[in-house]
Symmetry: C2
Subunit: 213 residues, 2 copies
């Protein structure tokens, strides 16, 4: 085995990429540091130069998965269109990424379920990042007179909590068979709560568009 | 040991009472059918006349715990007062019973956490019962002109789902340290979504009372 890590600035990222790939195949619990090292043709000792323990790799891979959600929803927040339409697309996107992972990448889903169950610090940080994106869109909607004036940070926390049944990996599993509420219905509830004119919001529901550049 | 079950019509309930008491002390997983039989001075075979397996006792005890919640909220639904105030008290009551169980009866909480995690049928039945009580109050509020007209059954499902962070035993544990959202804030969101006049609802928040007879 050749130890090439010192000469590679991106070894850290490569370890995580390989780890994610192995987690997808074997599951995070069955993947060992030796497996990752073997796949990368390096020594386990070299991996331990970047991660003090396997648990740190688990957390970093989970963090990468959640970071992809944030990248997607930030794009939506920057789109042009009414705030209510953006908020709908935001909520749908978080839900879609979660449910896709559950149906297509069950083993990566398991990693996130463990992260939420054990309250890994990356989960709170992720929730905080989601809150910020939601708060920005809600604040824009308040400024535009679309939403009633108020505390946009609190409104963001409330909307995310109200939608937790679609965002939390454990609940995605538990309620997979429940037909109601749909994401659309829950978005309608949240928009009715935020809207300056709930009746108008109800009539416009699903008829507004946003343009993501 | 004297087998007295045949002469006692309420042996079924007594088994559950004793089981709940033992679950509280030892935890449901460590309590055996032999423990319950010993406490009741009967033979395990007698217990098996009522329950085919220990798992059935677990489910029946969990069901009893959840039934207590339904008894409490039905009292509130029958109270006199504005629907929005009743809905607030309903949501607070479910939350309070859950969080009290978590802080004072951790071992019974564990049983309910297992029930939710494993999606025991009693959980869906309980959710359905909660929905019905919520729907009744929402429907009354719609009839009284307090809430916008609409599908009260769907509104009930949405309100319960929005509040799941306070109702679901697993989430009560996970978010025990999170200061926000508070129950009050989440109720405000739901009432703003339901109210015919959200501005008025906001001004009245927490200032209305109900009388439970």
């Amino acid at each position: 085995m050749v130890d090439t890590a010192v000469r590679k600035p991106d070894t850290y990222s490569e370890i995580l990429e390989v780890a994610e790939h192995l987690f997808e195949q074997l599951g995070f619990q069955k993947t060992t540091v030796a497996d990752i090292a073997h796949e990368m043709q390096m020594s386990p000792a070299n991996i331990y130069r970047f991660f003090a323990a396997k648990g740190e790799i688990n957390q970093a891979v989970a963090d990468r998965l959640l970071a992809k959600v944030i990248v997607e929803i930030r794009k939506i927040a920057r789109a042009s269109g009414p705030a209510s339409a953006k908020l709908r697309v935001l909520i749908f996107t978080v839900e879609k990424l979660n449910s896709q992972r559950f149906s297509s990448d069950r083993k990566l889903h398991d990693l996130l379920e463990a992260a939420y169950n054990a309250h890994w610090p990356i989960v709170a940080a992720h929730d905080e990042a989601v809150n910020k994106v939601f708060a920005q869109v809600i604040s824009d909607g308040m400024a535009a007179g679309e939403f009633r004036e108020g505390d946009s940070d609190l409104a963001a926390i409330l909307v995310r909590s109200a939608c937790i049944r679609f965002f939390h990996p454990r609940l995605v599993v538990e309620y997979a068979q429940d037909p109601e509420p749909t994401v659309d219905q829950m978005v309608d509830l949240c928009l009715a709560a935020l809207a300056k004119q709930p009746q108008l919001a109800a009539r416009l529901a699903g008829k507004q568009h946003i343009i993501i550049s």
